[in-house]
Symmetry: C2
Subunit: 341 residues, 2 copies
């Protein structure tokens, strides 16, 4: 699998490509399916969730499928009532309440593992299946806030509560169990999405985000990816998490970001999803820039710097994927020419 090879930093003719939210609203076939099924029904029904997971692979020659689900899904299995409209909404919890939750029993959300089994059987052997979970700090941000928020004031107040570490470790233990169930079901790689950890200062991140992320990921039996968007101030700190690779957003050039994380690391990224709202020529130029910055180093996984935006036109997505895959063909031709000469 090309994705696993990149995670092992093997030399490749081109980086593997997949992109965040590749199974989602920019696809007409997704919108059509969702017209008949709520988000909750779609993600908790393995046939439908697997179909949605596979949709982007029918259109584009991607190197990975990522299971269609939500980072809040396992919390429903822990007894937290959550609605999706489409972002998660719930009655805000306190830090004490979270600290007192029973850790996840993965069988309560067994439909995720079943979806992964279905996807693993359906895709080609060289396509990796990615499972995922939310970072403990990020899950806590939604739990304390009751959903998404501009400034997350309840969450930021909660960070100073006495039982904060305890609450985070309940979530970390649960996410570990959850990822293990996905690996057992056939996930080849797992990614931890720490979507709001970038709100933390570097020192708070080190104190509150790193230990539970480490606890979630260390010793899992497949390679792991960790991504915190808006984390330019955290790049130097990321290796403390001990993941196999790190996602970086679009804010810094890939070579600069890579230098900050560490040249010997696996890096995933980092095309600005905003560029996909422009035109195919602009997208091709932007892909070229990312590939130039990657400079063929081993350990590059091509991805967007954030989830694809819902109104993205298909033609720019096609231009992106073709540019990355085409780069491989060009490199292969170049290599054959070199050998022949």
């Amino acid at each position: 699998m090309r994705l696993l090879a990149a995670l092992e930093r093997q030399p490749l003719d081109r980086p593997p490509i997949w992109f965040m939210r590749q199974a989602g609203r920019y696809l007409p076939e997704y919108r059509q399916l969702r017209a008949d099924h709520s988000f909750e029904v779609a993600m908790s029904t393995p046939e439908i969730a697997a179909e949605i997971t596979l949709q982007p692979l029918r259109r584009f020659p991607l190197d990975a499928a990522i299971v269609f689900s939500d980072i809040m899904t396992p919390l429903m299995g822990m007894g937290v009532g959550i609605e999706f409209k489409p972002g998660p909404r719930l009655d805000p919890l306190t830090v004490d309440h979270v600290a007192d939750l029973d850790p996840l029993d993965a069988s309560t959300v067994g439909f995720v593992a079943e979806t992964i089994q279905r996807v693993r059987s359906a895709v080609a052997p060289d396509v990796a299946v990615i499972g995922f979970a939310g970072g403990p700090v990020t899950l806590l941000s939604y739990l304390l806030e009751g959903g998404g928020s501009k400034h997350f004031p309840r969450f930021r107040a909660g960070l100073h509560e006495p039982r904060i570490e305890e609450a985070l470790f309940v979530l970390a233990t649960s996410m570990r169990v959850y990822l293990e169930s996905q690996i057992e079901a056939g996930a080849d790689v797992v990614q931890l999405f720490d979507s709001w950890a970038g709100l933390l200062s570097e020192s708070m991140f080190r104190r509150l985000a790193v230990p539970p992320a480490l606890h979630t990921l260390t010793g899992l039996s497949v390679p792991t990816l960790y991504f915190v968007p808006g984390g330019s101030h955290l790049l130097e700190t990321l290796p403390e998490i001990g993941a196999s690779g790190y996602g970086v957003d679009w804010r810094l050039p890939l070579d600069d970001a890579w230098r900050r994380v560490g040249e010997d690391r696996v890096i995933q990224g980092n095309l600005d999803p905003g560029v996909l709202l422009s035109s195919p020529p602009a997208v091709r130029a932007a892909v070229e820039k990312v590939l130039t910055e990657a400079a063929g180093r081993p350990g590059h996984i091509f991805n967007l710097g954030h989830g694809i935006l819902p109104d993205t036109p298909l033609e720019t997505v096609e231009a992106m994927v073709e540019s990355v895959v085409g780069a491989g063909n060009r490199n292969a031709i170049e290599r054959d020419r070199t050998i022949a000469s």
Copy 2:
């Protein structure tokens, strides 16, 4: 004025202190006034706007007053219909539409200058009055999006439109005129708030945010401050804007941020406003950390790393202000003791 002295990098016994959104919702007297007047009426009526501007100075020994207004206010003077609920809401414009707007005639929003006149006459001579405007890129983000947004897709699509630079320069020319009118009315310092410029990659920031900010600020007759929150990836680029000083958010330790912007720069920041949701002892420790990182260097302006959060209790604000002002007293005693011995 202590603020001006810091902007000139004079040695001081303590940094000047003011904080973003100091005239606002965390103050009971503000909420009381706003119960009788809409945001629009409050900011466009000089008596009321001046009273709100002065409210925090009646409570705390701050070194500056910042005029109560909104970065979108001057756009109303340019004929854009905007409602505040409380964030700005408007019918989204196109890049072409913005490029075709007539630049601001500052007399259309003369109430802002009049508010500044009133505030300047009311405050003590050593208190600085700060005028402000929004950064052109940030104003454009609201104009294209129709208000605030999680991902600003219309804005990010607009960045690739042919007339983007033209649109930004209409806004830059207007903000320059606007700031000049505030300076003429008595503003001692002006700050450009580029609230959403941190969404831009470093290269897009250099191409689209720096030139109009430079055009807005260069050659103004008073010192200038520039602030982009979520801009950890831009710190090394900030000096290209040519402001007298730069705000930094809470994400990096002050000494690290200062090093990235440049040791010889004036830096404003950077207490995490989230800490003010905790307790006075935690706030005192956090202030101490900021002051330790500043290490008495000339050119430090104490501030929050972002606007104060609406639910902040007064006791933590008091603890913050007292800690900064108290540090000055301690330093003065220390200095006198040294001289006496």
